[in-house]
């Protein structure tokens, strides 16, 4: 993984010092809250319902074991002993005191971490495939490119006060695990005409109040031109994007207003001016960064018979293996998903003790590296198959081995009204009750891949529009009301879910989702996925089961 050199380290330390000064000026009264708020927001510090929340960047979701230990230390020392992993592959601490934040940033800096641009109207953490460098279908490891984007976008002087926040995702594989279609810019790697690697560029995707899927902007962009092209897009957005209406200020609105062809003309015209500038990537720098992501020293092991044997002997291990393992391009290895979705638990939450223990397991079994997924789980990416059984037992004893990746209990949920100042309804308790109710049905009927996403307001942090089943919590006449969408997907077959009908109260929503699933089971053919059944038969049977023949 990337390791800071002196320049990276200096920048992060100077930024922490700068923020210390800003906090001091706020506490002394020199800065008013109105002046301070945009400053703290540019550094991941929100005021939530009960305390400040600090969002720490985990660039493209990659963590070293010592970094995870540093997060555990911060959770214990400055928070209530836990953290919450987000759909942007970051971590949030929910119980932070303003006066402590400068010390926290210093501790983060010492571990090569920061909170820069984890909020505010700037370029946010670039997300990528949690199986980068591991997936067999990968064209190229996207992480070096994500790091190049991280550096370019960090404290960018021109793009620090954009019309609205800006999110970039980059995928190195044809199968998309990064939800490219719902990002402001999506980059998917491919081979160009001459065999060189580059990107297909997508623009204008996003969720929120006006969900839209991204449109193709450029079929092939050579790797060396990545930054000049991004700069051209951002420049057009900075000048042309709307600033008069918060809900119309994302780039998706600009793209849909201008039309993709006109937007492309503007970008290409700007790009022509800056393509041959200092933004062109220097091969020496690309190589330097790439070298940081070279694969760990795998041992040549034949596929392990022991692994197969254990699965035969131990049904629980077999179930976990079937659900939470991802094939590794290195024979004899697997990538393991560490579930942060225990049945009845809070999606994405992790206790400091679990962090420390997992850091130890990462050192022992996976070259000291941990990854955060946009499903709010963690990954140990390089585990020998003959170690899987021991690892599983260790994870199980920590409560981190729920066998449910992409299954009905692997629910994505935002903090909702229990913590978030913008929320209109709670999401966590709904997720907890749903997973308890559905775990049993899944065990009996093997529901296969079925994703549920729950957002506590229209900001859609839990991406409910792209859950196979999406739930949006609203406030109706003073009470919580949950709107259900069906048919979303964030994979390469991306689609936005459609609202099934009127919303459900807090005491009805779990039963409503159960009704949908029970209805589906009667219509399901040959073990197909819920999403495929829905695409085959349409929403009518579900509507009828929920609302009768109205």
């Amino acid at each position: 993984m990337y390791a800071y050199d002196g320049l990276d380290e200096t920048l992060v330390r100077e930024r922490a010092t700068q923020f210390r000064g800003q906090v001091a000026r706020r506490i002394s009264g020199e800065l008013s809250e109105d002046d301070f708020k945009p400053l703290r927001l540019r550094n991941g510090l929100y005021l939530q319902l009960h305390a400040y929340m600090l969002r720490v960047a985990i660039p493209y979701g990659v963590l070293g074991s010592d970094q995870l230990r540093a997060l555990a230390r911060i959770a214990r020392r400055y928070d209530r002993g836990y953290g919450h992993f987000t759909t942007r592959q970051n971590i949030q601490f929910n119980w932070i005191r303003l006066a402590d934040t400068p010390d926290i940033l210093d501790e983060l800096a010492a571990a090569e971490m920061h909170a820069i641009q984890t909020s505010g109207n700037c370029i946010r953490n670039t997300t990528t495939d949690q199986f980068a460098g591991v997936a067999a279908d990968e064209i190229e490891d996207p992480r070096p490119w994500a790091e190049i984007i991280r550096q370019w976008s960090t404290l960018h002087p021109e793009f620090s006060f954009l019309p609205r926040k800006f999110k970039i995702a980059i995928s190195g594989s044809p199968s998309d695990r990064t939800a490219i279609a719902v990002h402001d810019i999506g980059l998917s790697m491919l081979h160009g005409p001459g065999g060189e690697t580059g990107f297909k560029v997508w623009v204008g995707g996003g969720l929120g109040r006006t969900p839209m899927l991204a449109e193709a902007l450029r079929d092939f962009l050579p790797g060396a031109d990545l930054l000049s092209y991004l700069e051209a897009i951002l420049r057009v957005f900075n000048i042309e994007g709307r600033r008069d209406n918060l809900y119309k200020s994302r780039i998706k609105i600009l793209v849909s207003t201008l039309g993709i062809d006109r937007f492309r003309d503007l970008v290409e015209a700007e790009w022509a001016q800056i393509r041959d500038s200092a933004l062109r990537l220097d091969e020496a720098e690309v190589s330097r960064i790439r070298a940081r992501f070279s694969p760990p020293a795998y041992e040549a092991t034949a596929e392990s018979g022991q692994f197969a044997g254990r699965r035969l002997e131990d049904a629980a291990f077999a179930r976990w293996s079937a659900a939470n393992l991802f094939p590794h391009k290195q024979p004899g290895y697997a990538a393991v998903t560490v579930s942060l979705k225990p049945v009845g638990g809070i999606p994405g939450d992790m206790a400091a003790d679990q962090m420390d223990a997992l850091a130890g397991l990462a050192d022992e079994y996976s070259h000291g590296e941990i990854r955060v997924t946009h499903r709010q789980n963690l990954i140990l990416a390089h585990v020998r198959q003959d170690s899987l059984y021991d690892l599983w037992r260790a994870l199980d004893s920590l409560g981190l081995a729920t066998p449910n990746l992409m299954r009905v209990t692997d629910i994505i949920a935002c903090p909702g009204l229990d913590f978030c100042g913008l929320a209109t309804a709670r999401s966590i308790p709904v997720a907890q009750r749903l997973s308890e109710r559905l775990a049993e049905i899944d065990e009996r009927h093997d529901l296969g891949e079925l994703t549920i996403n729950i957002s506590g307001c229209i900001n859609s942090c839990a991406h409910h529009h792209v859950g196979h089943i999406g739930i949006l919590g609203l406030e109706k006449a003073g009470a919580e009301s949950y709107q259900v969408t069906l048919g979303g997907s964030s994979a390469e077959d991306a689609s936005l879910g459609k609202i099934i009908g009127r919303g459900f109260g807090a005491d009805e929503i779990v039963t409503a989702i159960e009704t949908i699933i029970v209805t589906w089971l009667e219509l399901r053919q040959d073990g197909e996925r819920f999403l495929d059944s829905l695409r085959r038969i349409g929403p009518a049977p579900f509507r009828e089961a929920l609302y009768g023949r109205e």
């Binding site: 706020r26 506490i27 009264g29 008013s32 809250e33 005021l47 939530q48 319902l49 009960h50 305390a51 400040y52 209530r80 002993g81 836990y82 929910n94 932070i96 005191r97 303003l98 006066a99 638990g345 809070i346 939450d349 992790m350 206790a351 679990q354 009204l417 229990d418 913590f419 929320a423 709670r426 966590i428 308790p429 907890q432 406030e475 003073g478 009470a479 919580e480």
Partner: protein, 91 residues
């Protein structure tokens, strides 16, 4: 007029606080001073906003409450969550 109390968050730690009769800020909504008339509320809000400007408290606003057997309870769920903490127990 509905009964109203005044709330905000403490600058230093973001904690939820409620404004008492003596102009003090308490972590406990039970200590909040209850306003039954527009005039009372307007006067308290004005002073509370001055304290906000001086920087100790941020985001001052009024909250509608009902008086129940066991004490004062905000009308909206959002404010009940602020008063009582998250409805879920954390890890």
């Amino acid at each position: 007029m509905a009964h109203l109390v005044i709330t905000g968050n403490r600058l230093r730690d973001g904690a939820v606080v409620w404004r008492g009769a003596a102009g003090d800020w308490s972590r406990d909504i039970a200590d909040a001073s209850i306003h039954a008339t527009e005039g009372q509320l307007a006067a308290s809000l004005d002073t509370a906003r001055l304290e906000e400007a001086s920087g100790r408290i941020i985001g001052v606003y009024e909250v509608e409450v009902e008086t129940r057997d066991h004490g004062v309870v905000p009308a909206r769920l959002r404010e009940r969550v602020r008063a009582d903490g998250p409805t879920v127990s954390v890890v």
